[in-house]
Symmetry: C2
Subunit: 281 residues, 2 copies
């Protein structure tokens, strides 16, 4: 496994593989790996000849009062884990390599970035699509892997790739959960022991929704009301509870077909998100 910081060096290395008709799988991350990242890497490993993982805490997707500086980092540990998963290249550029100031070019997907997580994080998705488009141009992978945990991010990136004709397949991998159900997240390290327990209510609310729907409830508002009861008891602020069409986040009047149920809450200043996707008969 090679750890590379330079764009031109990475390109040179990957060209060798491309010349041999080897396929490239790419997992863009902000590092501080948990089992969610590792499942993305394993998926890429299974499906490609070469696996590239980028580790880059992207400043432009953080708001001015968000946790860019505090965001957990541990390149040494990440490299050890990546090596165990038989990653071929870690690409970990400096901020100056990615953004030669002043940077003025942005990729933006309008409309679907104004809702859900985009509503309380203005500019977040613009930062994500810009950095992902840069990384896709640098790595030029055949396949790129994203986690369902950030489901809106997946939809936004899939739309960007389709509408800009970027030649890559975007793949979605399931959420990996702790044994008690909490979705894996690099930000879980922020939680104090008592908060860690309360955080379980997030997935519990989603399980409650699934249970209600399984037993015949088809009115999304009634499902949301029940979820709200669980969330209100445990979190000081609910950001959103949403039941929407998973393809373009259109609203749903009556539950049928594929549906996305997403929640976002705050414990103190820590923002937690989770979601499930169901098929309703």
């Amino acid at each position: 496994m090679k750890v590379i910081k330079s764009i031109s060096k990475l390109r040179k290395e990957l060209q060798k593989g491309r010349d041999k008709k080897e396929t490239i799988g790419f997992v863009p991350t902000m590092g501080y790996f948990h089992k969610g990242h590792l499942s993305l890497i394993r998926c890429a490993r299974r499906e490609n000849d070469i696996v590239v993982v980028s580790i880059f805490v992207n400043p432009i997707q953080f708001g001015p009062h968000e946790d860019y500086k505090r965001y957990p980092r541990n390149l040494r540990r990440d490299a050890l884990l990546a090596r165990e998963e038989k990653v071929d290249y870690i690409f970990c550029p400096n901020v100056n390599t990615m953004y030669q100031s002043p940077h003025h070019t942005f990729v933006n997907v309008e409309k679907i970035t104004d809702i859900l997580c985009g509503l309380c994080r203005p500019g977040h998705f613009k930062g994500v699509t810009t950095v992902v488009s840069k990384l896709l141009h640098i790595v030029q992978p055949d396949n790129a892997y994203f986690g369902q945990k950030d489901y809106q991010q997946f939809v936004v990136i899939k739309k960007m790739v389709e509408e800009l004709n970027i030649p890559v397949k975007i793949k979605l991998c399931s959420i990996v959960r702790e044994h008690d159900g909490l979705a894996m997240s690099s930000r879980n390290v922020y939680l104090k022991p008592k908060e860690r327990i309360r955080a379980l209510a997030l997935y519990a609310s989603l399980c409650r929704a699934r249970h209600l729907i399984k037993h015949g409830e088809r009115n999304p508002q009634k499902v949301i009301t029940e979820m709200k009861k669980i969330l209100e008891k445990n979190f000081n602020k609910i950001d959103y509870i949403a039941i929407l069409n998973p393809d373009g986040f259109d609203s749903i009047k009556r539950l049928r077909g594929k549906i996305f149920i997403g929640v976002a809450v705050y414990i103190g200043k820590i923002r937690l998100i989770d979601n499930i996707i169901l098929k309703v008969k």
Copy 2:
């Protein structure tokens, strides 16, 4: 020469060449070829194994009151001319092929698109960068060719390509002029005979600027004042007269090194632009 409307067909054709390690030169155009286009095509022909020319009148770079519908088109004539220049592929997609409505993804270069031609054409460059990024993803050329006539467009696209790490070389080709000095433009067909004569004042003002600078003038304001005298006599509206640094359009206090002199005027509703780039000792 093949004329192709489908993205997947073009990609399949070009992949054959790429597999043989052939280089691809790309000339994006809106068609209605004049000698300016042909000089771009010749440049691409000299420097590449395969030449792709796109012909697409891009609706999203026109303002609501601009000439999208009226813009001159003649695919049959363009194809004949392209064949003479030994073009390999003409890519001429339909609007629905390029923009599957609703289209929400845009590439934008901020700041340098707010000045000069961007000031009176809000959204124009956003439309240009979006379509060019799409075309670059479709064609994946080694080299792409742009004319100096739209010099701001060249600077904006060069910046986009650099800041998004798009793997392509952007090349600039000189302005081609009519025998009397008028810069070639598809929009010149809009000019009535008397307007065609008055239009010469555009290049005359640039020649006057060059003359003044050659004879020692180093104050940009004095040069602009002299240019204005020529332009005011001939046009009902001057949009801008600008003397700037050609790399990022920074302002210049004293003329030295490489300088960009650009003008934009209106004859009736017809907007004409022209520019020169000088090296001042």
